[in-house]
Symmetry: C2
Subunit: 456 residues, 2 copies
């Protein structure tokens, strides 16, 4: 913090440089501009946004005073990160470059960095946290995953001593909105998606959301924190929701399930005791994104619309869930502000927050998953078909919990729920079924979470 | 941390003294004993429980190694808090004294204190936080409210810069279990309570739970943190669940509600801007515990059984909810451990966590509440009764949204839902109704949360 006697800013004020002034950046600047006195009263921290970097000077910034904005704005982001009169950098540009280089430059100038950059954290977290560690300053990124929901702090601080077993999250608001509309209105995927696009919940090109790329990036960030592992978005097994049909959801309802796009990160090793675990250099983890059938009584089943939630299972803490707005300018800016106050507190104390070394994980492939499965087959409606199909399941060690035929003649469809089975065996079953004359099409395949209904 | 060269404990080990070894204390000691290597690997913090104070040396401590336990145990709690070879004190005795004196002694010996003591924090938080502040050490109490759910850290850190508007929580597992059973099985209060007692979810004397005392203490602690206010359990308006009848819940279901015991803490001032808020010496808050009708689509409605959850409304963050195990040895011990690691990190850094000055709040009485109300009246079944009753509502400015008669003759009952009304007016209405010849008994009165169904 600065000490120049001629500067009108008091020397206890923490001067924040903001990189990027889109939806979240503008909301953050407005929160600090209007709330500085209240923040000071509550926390004793005096904040001021003194510099703002943008790409386009001409763009309108609704919600910000034009005169006050123009005094602080520049197109030279690099000048901000090396400015000795900036104490702390907030990076809200998004994307890998130039954000990565700017953050590294800020850290090497000993400035704490708060980032809301999901793409960057999902690919370069190891590099960035190591740079923060060697600079001895904070790199905080609560806003990079699930907006206002305090997941990073939960995993890193509240559960610092916890053996985290599994995270199961709804971390993409667009797909949850689409699936909620399909579930509540009985409409099809295309109709629900068009509605989400009309309301601005989905992009014109919805690929990043509906194919699970956004959720996979968030899953990588969360798995990295939960398991101290260097997990990247490209490590995450990923399936989207485009293949979900209205009849899949109707069938799920009848059996007492909701269909949700889940991001799952779980520990695959279950060590006998802490000493063994501490000696293990490579945490064994599985990280995946796919639609799944979730029991109606599970807390995630009632997460509706564009809300997000993450369900955490810990060895001692048991089951926890955090729920909230996973996106949006003001909610995300609120998470940025929480981190800024944290870093400011550390600067004032001459300390810094926790860091964790990240190890290369032993990533387990989806083929090793044990789950129950929902499978549909379009079949020829004639005697003997079920026997042929059932024998293929049996030949591959996949045990059927329930089977039902829906439709007749050319509409005949078999709907199966399996007992717990190995994914590799289910994949082999589907390949073999595809080779049967009587099977016209393999339909949906959804994993079913939760205990088997009969408790077996 | 100690430096004695003859001591076998390495000088980087943080030595923890534990006061009280009941359910939570024993679980905490077991977590550290078995998990120290893993905690060290994850956080770089080496913990050891070196001393344990108990009241009864002879009592069995299941889950703890007898020999290792006896080496550390004493009945002299005061000796632990002043022992120079104890770096940090964990207080899990419960109750006001001697816990209060022991904590004050530990703080004045410059030892950070972690407490899980709800009763004490709900009455003496102002005194204790001031003592920690003047000693310059941490006083952390995540475990004092809602077990493993990280509410204190959420409010104090994640939402440090947030203008928190309202907290609405299910913070008592016993009453939520009873209400869940009444809701799902259609059974009465007495039967559900007996079942909870048989399962160990309710005490033989259930007063503290069913009359809302436990929830009121938690509400006071949460309001204190959310609003930086010195709120005590005795400041909290409190109503229990003993008057809830099976037919109230059946009626709630029909209208799309669940009945829950809620702890609510809300800000009553809505300042124009931050500067005004910062200048206000007395936050205006209302804190209350009462059963309420919660819309089925509200996230709190699906919190079942003995789980707890708190729904937070913030000005920028929007709606957040945290959910989990609100009680139990291991979940609560997990919250204690998170705080211990926090304090250990601060000790190592030579820093301390955030503190907030607490102001005396302007506590608003329940009479000022604006809410919708569910009211039932047992009435004489004869012409003209409804007109007489309705005119009493009208005379007191309480507008009726819906009315329904259930039962006939001597069983006749009128069930009302009001539009938004002032509690003082509703109270006056009930007094006046009690004076009518045709009203035999005032039945239930439940506040109804959420927007009015027609959006008005």
């Amino acid at each position: 913090m600065h000490v120049s006697p001629t500067d009108p800013t008091p020397d206890t004020v923490l001067r924040v440089g903001v990189l990027g002034c889109g939806n979240v950046g503008a909301a953050f600047v407005a929160l600090v501009d209007s709330g500085a006195a209240a923040i000071s009263a509550r926390t004793g921290i005096d904040l001021e946004v003194t510099r703002i970097a943008v790409r386009d000077l001409a763009r309108e910034r609704p919600g910000l005073d034009r005169v006050a904005f123009e005094k602080r704005v520049t197109t030279d982001a690099h000048a901000i990160v090396v400015d000795p009169e900036v104490d702390l950098v907030v990076e809200l540009i998004g994307g890998v470059e130039p954000a990565r280089s700017l953050i590294l430059a800020a850290l090497s100038s000993k400035k704490p960095v708060i980032s809301g950059n999901k793409e960057l954290l999902a690919t370069n977290a190891g590099e960035l946290t190591a740079a923060a560690e060697s600079a001895g300053v904070d790199l905080l990124f609560e806003a990079s995953v699930a907006g206002a929901i305090p997941l990073v702090r939960l995993l890193r601080e509240s559960l610092a001593g916890e053996h985290i077993v599994r995270l199961t999250g709804i971390v993409n608001g667009t797909t949850n909105y689409v699936l909620t509309r399909m579930s509540e209105e009985g409409i099809g995927y295309e109709e629900a998606l068009a509605e989400a696009q009309a309301l601005g919940y989905a992009e014109a090109d919805p690929t990043a959301d509906v194919e699970g790329y956004d959720a996979a990036a968030k899953a990588a960030i969360l798995a990295g924190i939960a398991f101290d592992a260097d997990v990247r978005a490209s490590d995450v097994h990923r399936e989207g929701i485009a293949g979900i049909e209205a009849r899949d959801i109707a069938f799920a309802h009848r059996l007492g399930y909701e269909v949700k796009l889940l991001a799952v990160a779980e520990r695959c090793d279950r060590p006998i005791d802490g000493a063994e675990r501490a000696g293990d250099p490579a945490p064994s983890v599985a990280v995946r994104v796919h639609p799944a059938m979730v029991p109606a009584a599970h807390p995630l089943a009632s997460v509706r619309g564009s809300f997000n939630a993450v369900f955490v299972e810990g060895d001692a803490a048991g089951e926890l869930m955090v729920y909230g707005r996973g996106a949006g300018g003001r909610p995300t800016a609120s998470a940025v502000l929480g981190d800024v106050i944290d870093a400011a507190h550390h600067l004032r104390e001459g300390s810094r927050g926790r860091s964790a070394r990240r190890r290369s994980p032993d990533l387990r492939p989806i083929a090793e998953l044990h789950s129950q499965y929902y499978l549909t087959l379009d079949v020829a409606d004639r005697p003997g078909v079920l026997a042929a199909v059932a024998s293929v399941f049996g030949d591959h060690n996949v045990s059927i919990r329930s089977m039902e035929q829906t439709g007749l003649n050319t509409e005949a469809r078999l709907v199966f729920i399996t007992h717990m089975a190995l994914e590799a065996d289910v994949s082999a079953t589907l390949i073999a079924l595809g080779g049967l004359d009587s099977v016209e099409r393999i339909g949906s395949m959804l994993r079913v979470i939760g205990p088997e209904p009969d408790g077996s």
